[in-house]
């Protein structure tokens, strides 16, 4: 194990956690004062919760990366490319929060966030795949990079239905990726993953049920893009896809059931409803989108906390499958 890299990872983790922990309540107050609030539609009282607080994840992550850069300047290109992808995606999210971008323009813009990776060519077009080994995809690989950023970015954006689901499930995914990178000896990804994990876990403290803050599109798009960039920079392609299966499933079901890209607010029929006793139930409407939340609720009405727990269990299971995939690659 390389001591400096290990020390930097620990520093990045604690630094991003502390900054996110410290800034989130302050930013939440500011957002509330400015009227940037969202309604928690799955509660009977319909409380208003400060929006766009995911910006604190970006601040924590950015500071941890800049400090890591000062300790390990030999990873400068990897760190700066990662940071630019995350900040660009965060900016798209912020514009979406403030001005509302169309459902088709958002994936396109997040695909553009992959430009720093393509221009600096920090990717390795010879990924190692399970059962197959090392492959040579010199032409196809660069063509897939815009998807590697746009797909996780929008999949995370779509899987933010209940309190703490985005920060909780993404924490599990990033934990799996960081540990896998450590086992495979990809220290650039370990440092970046540790910074991201610290910020996500600190944010989860405020975002968990009952939520005191919402990440907003600025948080969800940036976190998804960060996971995509981490996968490409850390050469964790197959592990990343398997770890993110609940996110991919949710996006796939949604697209397959509604037949295209639509915003939540454009949907006439909601996928879930709140019963008079406060429990959540799947919508019986055939035209409602089939989301992962609705799929979980197919077995009957549940409390919101129970559905959230099932989200975490499914993500933990896909994380276990991701570890198995990693061992198949070794």
């Amino acid at each position: 194990m390389m001591f400096t890299e290990f020390f930097t990872s620990i520093t990045a983790f604690f630094l991003s956690s502390l900054i996110t922990l410290f800034f989130t309540p302050t930013v939440a107050d500011k957002m509330r004062q400015r009227g940037m609030v969202g309604v928690d539609v799955h509660k009977q009282r319909k409380p208003e919760v400060p929006e766009m607080c995911g910006v604190c994840i970006l601040v924590g992550l950015a500071v941890s990366i800049l400090v890591s850069l000062a300790i390990l300047p030999n990873y400068a290109v990897d760190f700066l490319v990662f940071l630019s992808v995350v900040l660009f995606s965060g900016l798209i999210g912020a514009v979406d929060d403030l001005r509302r971008l169309g459902p088709r323009i958002k994936p396109l813009l997040t695909a553009f966030a992959s430009l720093p990776i393509l221009l600096t060519r920090i990717y390795d077009p010879r990924p190692i795949l399970p059962l197959v080994g090392r492959t040579r995809l010199t032409i196809i690989y660069p063509l897939l990079i815009p998807f590697a950023i746009a797909v996780p970015s929008n999949a995370v954006n779509m899987l933010d239905p209940l309190n703490g689901v985005m920060s909780g499930t993404c924490s599990i995914v990033v934990f799996v990726l960081t540990v896998s990178a450590a086992i495979l000896g990809h220290w650039n990804a370990v440092i970046l993953g540790a910074g991201l994990l610290g910020a996500l876990l600190a944010f989860y403290r405020y975002n968990r049920f009952p939520s005191r803050v919402f990440p907003g599109n600025v948080g969800t798009l940036a976190v998804g893009a960060a996971i995509g960039a981490l996968v490409v920079i850390g050469r964790l392609e197959a592990i990343g896809v398997v770890a993110m299966m609940p996110h991919i499933m949710n996006g796939f079901y949604f697209l397959a059931s509604v037949g295209g890209l639509y915003e939540r607010r454009q949907m006439a029929a909601r996928p879930i409803r709140v019963l008079s006793d406060g429990r959540l139930a799947a919508s019986p409407n055939k035209s409602s989108p089939l989301t992962l939340t609705r799929t979980i609720l197919a077995v009957g009405p549940m409390k919101e906390e129970e559905v959230i727990r099932y989200f975490f269990l499914l993500t933990a299971f896909s994380g276990f499958l991701a570890f198995l995939t990693m061992f198949m690659m070794m």
Partner: protein
């Protein structure tokens, strides 16, 4: 946990089939060659590889969607008929 066992099953199916698809495309479909001379041979081989690869991936997605829809509505009708 028992309530969502079927979803763990779907995840496992998707993962196993994904591994199979990877193996099929990279070990079976990509090395395929068609016995034909010159440019026509190269073109035909490319079309067959892309076609077979695309069909196998579409079949996987179709099967995944089919399983999900069938099980979802079966579970839904059973659970919600009893409770409401």
């Amino acid at each position: 946990m028992k309530k969502i066992t079927w979803l763990f099953g779907v995840l496992l199916f998707v993962w196993l089939f994904m591994l199979f698809e990877l193996w099929l495309i990279l070990q079976v479909i990509l090395p395929l060659t068609i016995e034909a001379d010159g440019f026509f041979g190269i073109l035909l081989t490319g079309i067959v590889k892309a076609g077979v690869g695309a069909v196998s991936v579409i079949f996987w997605l179709w099967l995944w969607r089919r399983i999900e829809y069938t099980v979802f509505w079966k579970m839904f009708e059973k659970a919600y008929k009893e409770k409401f």
